[in-house]
Amino acid sequence: MAENLQNMLLEEQEFSINMGPQHPSTHGVLRMVLKLKGETVLEVKPQLGYIHRGIEKMSEKLTYPQIIHLTDRLDYLSAHILNEAVCLTVENALEVEVPERVKYIRTIMDELNRIASHQLWWCAFGMDLGALTTFFYGLRDREKILDIFEESCGARLLLSYNVPGGLMNDIHPNFQKRVKDFLKYFKKKLPEYDALLTGNPIMQQRTKGIGLLTKEQAVAYGVTGPSGRGSGFSCDVRKHQPYSAYSKVNFNEILYTEGDTFARYKVRIDEMWESMSIIEQLIDNIPEGDFAIKMKPIIKLPVGEYYQRVEAARGEFGVFVISDGNKTPYRMKFRSPNFSNLAAINTMAKNQKIADLIAIGGSMDFVIPDMDR
């Protein structure tokens, strides 16, 4: 487009090429305008807005339980965690305390959702590098988690299981047995992932030393989640501002200091092990009780501003609500992790090849509707 080229000055031997919104490896509709010299990338300019749906403007006309169904569609691979963020905002603003049972179940479903999201990341990352096998292995194991979700909530991907005050329905009586079976099954399969991809010399050469992001750059750009932790930025909201049942479990925050693509890959694989250990600590001790408390039929938050941070699968997600006492919020802002993660891509991809850019984009694990909201 002419107006984009005005911002770029091209020298001799340089040319500008469009990696368009419809592309097999961009994980959605992300358009990147690349300035290339041969195969070396000199500059990356992402163009967003191809899935901008105006969710923040829509939220000003919807009640709080209705907004929960829209947040599902933001980062749809961590749908349960984003739903929980809105519910926690409402519950903290009204100062109601949910039963312990709800906290435990929410945490277990969060961690299952995190494992499912990382499984999908693994299969897409392998496909980006050219290894088509990972697609089938990752999705085969992910179907087992989706079966558990379907039995309890009725939905596979966009759960909407949380409501302000608790859960929509109690868990299925088979829930504990199924989760324990899944853990036993997946513990045997996760070393296969290592055997298939991690130790492969081609994969290591393509990812070690590629896409470096130092810790200061990660903090300055606001890169959180596994991408930030691969550079040594300790940003796990579950550790620093615990919510739900995270204060009751012991788990490690995975940090690597190299800051390259391979470090971000290792962080996510190790996070899957940690998530399984969190679920193991909680699954046998779910306390008895109600699955929801009684809230008023029309929820009105008192006047003021409320902010809630949660750890989605890709980084820190924030819900900022400004309420003027009505049943719809005055302004609702979502702090999306992918939006801040994308800002760092120009720094990471400078002077690398186009194939490295694909590997970097795969390791950052973008979900574009979350960026565009």
């Binding site: 967003l48 807005g49 903090v219 902010y307 900022f320």
Partner: protein
């Protein structure tokens, strides 16, 4: 560091700031020409060290705009909120904080696109979500669009 000590430090630096503590954070409101100095002080001062800007947003109250910056410190793990009021609704202008926290670049482009607030000294201020020929600023309260929006 507790909110009381943070309040003392901020008042010592800038006595004209309004400091209110709500349930979660300490909120500091300053004029729009002071915001850049306050932000720079909060980042560089070794006692506060707010190096992580985790949310930058704008709110449209019907007669003025309010810019809200949520800051966090990776060293001390305390949070603070700084705000500034922009009273000029025809041409809202405020200083950019991109030279302090580079992650603000995309956030400010989004606010320019959806609210129309112009940022001084921004390296690359252009629209990010909407087309270049889009008329109007959607997130303002007085935005009407009879073509696209189906009202309910």
């Amino acid at each position: 560091m507790e909110n009381e000590k943070l309040k003392e430090i901020v008042i010592a630096y800038m006595p004209v700031a309004e400091v209110i503590a709500d349930k979660q954070f300490l909120n500091i409101t300053v004029n729009d020409d002071q915001i850049h100095n306050l932000a720079k002080f909060l980042k560089n001062s070794p006692e506060t060290c707010f190096d992580y800007l985790f949310c930058e947003s704008a709110i449209d109250y019907n007669d003025h705009f309010m810019m809200v910056y949520h800051l966090d410190s990776t060293k001390y793990r305390h949070q603070i909120v700084i705000k500034t009021k922009i009273t000029n609704r025809e041409t809202p202008i405020v200083d950019s904080v991109c030279d302090i926290w580079i992650g603000a670049e995309y956030h400010e482009r989004e606010i320019f696109d959806l609210f129309g607030i112009h940022f001084n000294n921004h390296p690359d201020l252009r629209k990010i979500f909407l087309d270049n020929d889009w008329v109007g600023f959607p997130l303002r309260k007085d935005y009407t669009d009879f073509v696209n929006i189906v009202e309910r």
